[in-house]
Subunit: 449 residues, 2 copies
């Protein structure tokens, strides 16, 4: 452990403590607003999801209560429990956001921590958004430095570095000193966890929920004098040594405070594992050309190997599992022309026409195909073929969702819960930095009885 690498945790802590909204270029401020608004919509949309309902019942079973809000609901919980439930809600539909280089989904672990502590301390909208940016920067940068080996081993990046981002966001709102922030990072680093074995179960969204809750708790502990070691990220037996084989500490600090990872957060147009998104684009393109399921004899998808690795479920037996089936993704894309929460319901996972079509799909992996690309060749019953090439999926870095698309997605998920109040919630979420507090946003998120 050299002095140089030993300063990684310190430098990230000092950066996070010192960041100001006015330091951020307008493009970063816009990215922060979008990151925030996107997951706020998802939390409201999923506020009655079974995983959310069960978590709420479990957390209140032993009489636990508190003063902190949950988006879209009337119940109040402690700050940590509210962050846990909100993190589950934001991630459970696999519809949130992705820092593509690391496969980190930053909104779900980080925004709930900022919301919970922001509400308790009465922080302004600007305070909350600045905390989110600090969290996204720290989490993404540590993720960059952990490299692909971290994800490839089987760590769910949203659960691991999500802890750091949530802790930093919470710590900002508690106005921690750089030294307290370093302790917060130590407390969070040693709790970093989450296995990709859990994908396709309710425990996947528990990962960002716990990251958010543990991050809030870590910041509270550090604020009261609880301490950890130096170098918790880069130490000999610290986070990086234990969780990757190719740590790059320079990557963690590269252009810190002048280049912004927050701008590289992409929003999901489809509510499933992101590596299937090019295949859904292809299926929707085929549908738009008039290809009909009944006339298809066989489908051959050529894609990067990660697609089968993460999305290889052939016969998903539930909505949650269908989010990890590239076969299901192609089928609903072609049959429904969409891939939102409705397409990943238990009902749709078992629907006859979906099952029939997905059984016709074969996937060939090819390491030379980019992760955001694919090609699809369809053999029709009449012997003709149709081919589609997707160069960059919708929602990728090279083809990002526009603000209009993001608003349409927000409306898709929020309107079933809030109806006419959806437009007001969008305005409050995407314009949070103009608000004096979170009160308006939180109140508007709850449907009238």
């Amino acid at each position: 452990m050299t002095i140089e690498t030993h300063s990684v945790t310190d430098e990230l802590a000092a950066f996070a403590s010192g960041l100001a909204w006015s330091d951020l270029p307008p493009t970063t401020q816009n990215a922060a607003r979008s990151t925030f608004a996107n997951v706020v919509g998802l939390a409201v949309g999923a506020s009655r999801n079974p995983a959310v309902e069960r978590a709420l019942r479990a957390l209140t079973a032993f009489g636990l209560t508190g003063d902190v809000s949950i988006l879209g609901r009337r119940e109040r919980l402690s700050a940590t429990s509210a962050a846990l439930v909100t993190g589950i809600a934001m991630h459970v539909e696999d519809f949130d956001d992705t820092h593509l280089r690391t496969v980190l989904h930053p909104g779900a672990p980080i925004v709930p921590a900022a919301l919970a502590v922001g509400e308790v301390v009465g922080g302004s909208g600007e305070d909350v958004l600045t905390a989110v940016v600090a969290g996204v920067e720290v989490a993404s940068r540590v993720g960059n430095g952990l490299g692909v080996a971290h994800f490839d081993r089987g760590w769910h990046v949203t659960g691991t570095v999500g802890h750091l981002g949530a802790a930093v966001a919470a710590g900002r709102l508690l106005r921690l000193t750089p030294e307290q922030m370093r302790h917060t990072l130590a407390l969070a680093a040693t709790q970093a966890a989450g296995h990709t074995e859990q994908l396709g179960s309710m425990t996947k969204p528990l990962h960002p929920g716990k990251a958010a809750a543990d991050g809030v708790e870590a910041a509270q502990l550090a604020a009261r004098g609880f301490t950890g070691p130096e170098g918790s990220i880069e130490g000999r037996r610290g986070l990086a040594a234990l969780m990757t084989s190719d740590a790059d500490y320079e990557e963690m600090l590269r252009a810190l405070g002048s280049a912004w990872e927050t701008e590289k957060n992409a929003f999901k147009p489809y509510s499933c594992g992101i590596v299937s998104h090019p295949v859904i684009d292809a299926a929707i393109a085929l549908r738009e050309r008039g290809v009909v399921a009944d006339t298809i004899a066989a489908v051959e998808v050529t894609a990067h190997p990660v697609v089968l690795d993460v999305m290889g479920v052939k016969e998903p037996d539930s909505g949650l599992r269908s989010k990890f089936s590239v076969y299901h993704c192609f089928a609903v894309g072609l049959l429904d022309g969409a891939a939102g929460p409705k397409q990943y319901s238990d009902e749709r996972a078992l629907a006859e026409e979906v099952v029939a079509l997905r059984r016709k799909v074969n996937v060939v992996v090819d390491r030379t195909v980019a992760k955001d690309a694919c090609s699809v060749r369809v053999l029709l019953d009449d012997g003709t073929t149709q081919e589609v090439e997707v160069e960059h999926a919708t929602g990728s870095i090279d083809r990002p969702m526009t603000l209009e698309q993001l608003r349409a997605k927000f409306e898709l998920v929020v309107e079933p819960v809030l109806g006419a109040a959806t437009a007001r919630l969008w305005d409050l979420a995407v314009g949070l930095d103009s608000e004096d507090s979170l009160a308006g946003l939180l109140a508007t998120s709850v449907p009238s009885a």
Copy 2:
């Protein structure tokens, strides 16, 4: 993933759900009583430790309260928060217990989970002790199967498999079905965490505290229908694949229900890292021979390499750091004839006579020396030497602490807090299985105002 290995999580879940107190041989029942009583004493003894005070202030800062007791204190918290604080208290003095093969300290993560849920559900003493045994068995067995590579990489075993033990103990008291228990294990496995980088800081005892709290939460979630995947321990990207390089699933299940790892839990006679215990035995033996610090020119310790790896701090600047200094351990052993909490205070870590003596100590590592052995050679100013060989340290498997020694240790830590009520608390703790509930124990643990 073969069908055979796929059943590890299932088999452990079924075992844990089905275990009955009457299944246990008397030797295992005695080991359970000792395991329980030992950490109850430590929690009361450390109930005003700064790490405990700070954690309590942090958890109550946002108005969090509840109905669940904390040993030795009047405050009430939620079940998860009470388990967190109690876990910190049991481990903060590094004086608890050790499953030697795995270096798991089972009491601190598992007993707080059983206490918190046992109090909420009104469980009997027998229920609580059976839950503790189920937890110790599952945690130790998974630890056995993760092998030495798990610890060697830098995982703090008490934080990792401690999560599984705590979840199982909590799940037992919630009377979970085997299937719910499997989900509980999934929820706990994916949260397994804790880096040995954090040794010597307050975050070390946070590891069992979080294991206990997360375990309680996992069981509550599973009880309300929250689910995880199958095979969370042995799956392709499950706990074992991510946290060790030499998983042995047969070891996890070997003689399950007929051989009892609980009997292999050893109690610490000294409040520091266990690998230094042989050196303390040697120092005390030298003192008993009349060797005086002033007359020592140099000390040469020959020990297993793990001693320097874990306990290599040369100049500890705090009580917490001194627990990881074999040099400090030798010095207090010779100067004080003891190595309890008083010997690892900030004051003692900086005392002139201690600093002077520990600077004379040199450690030579030798892989052929057993971990519970050492030899020490002292060169005196008059040119003569004294040598001591320790074959098996006090508190090792081959030289376990007797019940009388354990009671003396209990009195050492509890009497400063409880005075005359200490004897009553010992009787309640070591005879817990005769109690109808935890009420007597919890009430007796609190000092009268």
